[in-house]
Symmetry: C2
């Protein structure tokens, strides 16, 4: 098994943090997103979506999509469970993972991709108005999350899950997107600091 990795971008980081939490060691194959290597023909043969990361199994089977890769690894290495436990627990993790992915990672990504000079060749055309439409949505979701985190330790419940990984990587991604984390959202701040203190956070 090997993992085609994309460095600091949010999705490659999500999978690396997932691996660190599971204690799984997979050889990484670096793909240079800065040099647009993932947009070339050679990489498109691996993943026609031209996105990272990509997991290649020993028989050559290709799996793409961050959450599909993580779920595959969860099936092979069930502990610690990062997609929840029990029928309802699993549904809650799925719900929160998706809420965070669409309403936080997705909106931050829209701001980043449509404003950052480094994205000029990847996001064509960059539409400033679309970035600005998404900026208040980042804040609106963080306010919802703050109310939720007032009542529990992690995003999807009392146990750390893949929803926290998506959330943590999203909040870190606010920095290159040049969005400030509102300091008055103290529950998000408490949660963020706790996740940042885990050894996996540097993966």
């Amino acid at each position: 098994m090997k993992l085609y990795d994309g460095g600091r971008a949010p999705n490659p980081r999500r999978v690396r943090i997932f691996l660190a939490e599971k204690g799984i060691d997979i050889p990484l194959v670096p793909v240079d997103m800065g040099k647009l290597e993932h947009l070339g023909e050679a990489f498109a043969r691996l993943n026609p979506m031209k996105q990272l990361p990509v997991l290649e199994l020993d028989d050559g089977t290709i799996l793409s999509e961050t959450i599909a890769i993580c779920r595959y690894l969860e099936e092979l290495h069930p502990e610690p469970a990062l997609f929840g436990r029990g029928v309802l627990g699993k549904a809650r993790v799925e719900m929160w993972q998706r809420r965070v992915e669409f309403h936080l990672l997705g909106t931050i990504q829209a701001v980043f991709r449509h404003t950052h000079p480094a994205m000029k060749e990847m996001e064509v055309p960059q539409i400033r108005e679309w970035a600005e439409a998404n900026r208040p949505r980042v804040r609106a979701f963080l306010e919802i999350l703050d109310r939720e985190l007032a009542g529990r330790r992690f995003i999807a419940g009392d146990e750390f899950s893949v929803a926290d990984i998506t959330g943590f990587v999203s909040v870190q991604f606010m920095k290159p997107a040049r969005i400030e984390l509102p300091p008055e959202l103290t529950h998000v701040g408490r949660w963020y600091n706790e996740i940042a203190a885990r050894p996996s956070a540097s993966a």
Copy 2:
């Protein structure tokens, strides 16, 4: 258990088709999206994301997010398996479901929301340039899908899955988004007609 339903919108339809394929009968509570009922305060107490559908369990527990609801129902009613079989089969369904969701449903949605007069109050501001940026992405993904469907019966493999539900609802959603399905994509056409002939298609 009851399902807050949103009529013709793609996500409510995805869950209703899923229920029909499983042969599960759940009472529906209609929410009038045309009258923006889902954006009101009463509905926000059920789902702060203000999105449909929402599943309410008998103890009052709320589950939102189409795929979280479907996965919960899959755990309760495993057959027919719509999230794949076996470790790799499940990962393939997850991968394709997400590819279709992001690159087809998501791009069609961008075109629809940012051009259709009926979305004026729901998508503020409507950004014509963002719709136009997404239009070629719909086509690009359909071309990838056409090549894939040349070699197999369903989107994620030889069995019908939730990826086909997302794909089918997406292609139907092209009509209100006023995007034509390119007739030369004959494998997509063959697949679409086959899914449209299933009894669940009218759900």
